[in-house]
Subunit: 454 residues, 2 copies
């Protein structure tokens, strides 16, 4: 460990050094801002529920971030960066106490040009999207926490979401154009990363630099109709999802498949969806509604819910029943549920998916999000799991991996144990240079911890 | 044959029946309007060079088309529909004489809404695109004959083109929203086809209805930069093309790969491209140039030609060196060249492509157009062939088919022997209802001819 334990910190000296910057010391508030949605995972609850920062700092500018960084480096204080805390894997939990750097006050949209926006990390996705849409553009992708999540948190800890059926994942070249980061060196600096260099901090959980500005690509804004389609059986629903994903002439933003009994957890939609249904929840450009409906007909589906883009501006947003929100709604009804994150290999026949659906029966409820991965459309599954024991959960994960499905484990807060699986030498090298004392989100990057031990 | 031989036709009666509508009788003009670009194929030249219509009619409205249709039906006169005649497979050659219906005067753009345009068939693609771009939209795809081809001809005889890397092929659901067609019944009618019904006439070579209006989807308009990238060897160039096609975060409109010595045929580009180069010709959204260039760097390519979207408005258009224009430029230098149209199976490693590249050596020059087919990016090859004999050409085709490559044979004017391969029962049934006397583009639809003989 290079990080000092927080017991020896002179907090008076720290707060003097950052005079003028908001500090939160109220224990309830600090405790609240030490959490994210890791409660999705019973394993993470066990590991993280006692973790709490010493205080929260809320800078309003890059200059203030530089001051905070310097004050932390001087006393080797751990610094854990957070946005809105809507993640599910404990990405922003202060494992070793110290300062929680809450960036939600840095919410300036610096500029929007056709196809590109330059923003501060704390801007909420919905707010940015609204401004972008006024210029005919919109954000390419968003998590189901669209209303509350920040762009910085999404880039730092997310992987993709609504929009990934067209634009792939956040890690894909072109989905993040540039970032400015503040370092944790003795004299903290601002570094600009462009081109492939952005990968040094993309999805690094804030472990190797504090993102203070981002340039992100925008998508042309379409009027998105929201629909729910009901099918007789699960595999028809799933192959419909695959075919819709593969339909290059139909413009879509979301293709979510929920096996029965999942729709029963959606309180606000329950009156629209017949009991016992397998459903597809989709966002389709209004210009593509006619061919979309022809496709529904070919698959013998029936549309049980339809909102025009105009109507969708009010009330329930369909996207709030997809991605991690599917789990959220299910857990509201049954807190014993947890989930998996699975990427199935490319196979238009969905054979491995069908096997898993049948093999696990009632224990796993199939929830698919179709996304583009390296140019092809695949089902990413966020299966709901009826939780029993840690061993059984690991057994389920192992079974998937042995059969060739990729698990992005949502039951770990370790960067490399989640979706990435391998140590990223580029991110590690960048941390060595930018955060020589290992103060940033300590404990998250396994490569760093292993390096310390060697 | 149900069509009357043209010898017994009372042409005076015909022209009286369509009084007021332009008729061209000048032999040179009629001969010219009896051709398309079938000269690409030495086999088609042999079969088609003596085919000529009796006269050309140029209606200016749907009402006039109805009159012409009726006048033809009355005397059982064959009617061959044509746009600008930029096709390569003899789609619009009057095999049995009769009337050539030239629709190039029907060039109204009826309306443009966000994402959809309603047009007459004779509107030129470049003209439509220009109008659409004024509203922030553009046509989704175009052939390399963009400047001269008509939308009706493209839908009637084309398959895809520049833009297919994003939107797939014309046959894909959503790429044609509606058509109005005039029938060849005793009392010709106008029929509107929407949804999947458009497939009844889509790519049917004008054999089962005269398209008088089309609703086509538009794409959001991007500023397209034009670039040529040089690589050391062919397979690096090809895998770069595949990877660019698969890069979901990079917005592109064209990914063309030309093996050496093809770029040597491009007179206007010769000064830009180093001799002996394998090249990628691409159109990339300016917003994606930075990640695109990062990709070029990873592949050790070097950019030898770059035009901003603004600069690309003037002078040489890169797209005019791609798709069938690649063949055109090569044949200008060496008229003994012909070509193939090949679809390789999905394989990110491009193994079959590599085999063909090595197997045929100098006899085939590899030219690839990456396109989306059913959701995945594949190389469509329009290989240049050093022509020797019909037998050898068929042997080359057979070799490809045996190894698992799909050949859309460009050396036949028969609908089903080209790209589609199988009799389309929907199109045949529609012809039976709409053109009971078999007058429309006779001789093109094998299913119809076989039916006559049975």
């Amino acid at each position: 460990m290079t990080a000092t334990t927080t017991r020896s910190i002179d907090w008076k000296r720290f707060s003097d050094a950052i005079a003028g910057i908001e500090i939160i010391r109220d224990a309830t508030q600090v405790a609240k801002l030490s959490k994210d949605y890791y409660t999705y995972s019973p394993l993470l609850v066990e590991q993280l529920s006692d973790k709490v920062g010493d205080l929260v700092v809320r800078p309003t500018s890059e200059a203030e971030v530089l001051k905070v960084a310097k004050a932390c480096v001087q006393q080797r204080i751990p610094l854990t960066v957070r946005g809105a805390g809507t993640g599910n894997y404990g990405q922003c939990i202060p494992l070793q106490g110290g300062v929680i750097l809450d960036l939600t006050k840095m919410q300036a949209v610096k500029w929007i040009q056709p196809g590109i926006a330059c923003v501060e990390p704390g801007v909420k996705l919905a707010a940015l999207d609204k401004q972008a849409r006024e210029t005919g553009w919109e954000i390419r992708m968003a998590p189901s926490t669209y209303r509350t999540a920040t762009i910085g948190g999404f880039i730092g800890g997310g992987s993709g979401g609504i929009g990934s059926i067209t634009y792939g994942q956040l890690r894909d070249r072109g989905n993040l154009l540039a970032v400015r980061v503040v370092t944790m060196e003795d004299e903290p600096r601002v570094i600009e990363l462009r081109g492939d260099d952005v990968q040094k901090v993309n999805h690094a959980y804030g472990t190797n630099g504090i993102i203070t500005e981002l340039e992100i690509p925008l998508a042309p804004a379409y009027p998105w109709a929201e629909l729910i389609v009901v099918f007789d059986d699960f595999m028809t629903t799933a192959t419909f999802g695959q075919a819709l994903g593969d339909a290059d002439g139909i413009i879509k933003k979301l293709v979510t498949i929920c096996a029965d009994p999942i729709p029963g957890y959606f309180a606000a939609l329950r009156s629209a969806i017949p009991p016992g249904s397998h459903v597809a929840l989709v966002m389709v450009a209004e210009q593509s509604l006619e061919p979309f409906k022809a496709m529904v007909k070919e698959w013998s589906g029936s549309i049980c819910y339809e909102k025009s883009a105009q109507a969708a501006k009010k009330g329930t947003m369909l996207l709030e029943y997809t991605w991690n929100h599917t789990t959220l709604h299910a857990r509201t009804v049954d807190p014993n549920l947890t989930y998996l994150q699975t990427l199935f290999p490319y196979d238009p026949e969905l054979k491995l998916l069908e096997h898993m659906y049948q093999h696990f029966g009632d224990e796993l409820m199939m929830h698919l999000e179709f996304i583009r991965v390296a140019g092809c459309v695949l089902p990413a599954a966020l299966q709901l799991v009826r939780y029993s024991t840690p061993d059984r959960l690991h057994e389920i994960i192992r079974y998937h991996e042995e059969k060739g499905a990729f698990i992005a484990n949502p039951h770990t807060y370790i960067l490399e144990d989640g979706g990435r699986k391998t140590v990223d030498p580029v991110q590690l090298a960048f941390k060595e240079a930018m955060d020589p004392y290992g103060l940033l989100n300590p404990g998250k990057m396994k490569a760093w911890e292993m390096r310390d031990r060697s």
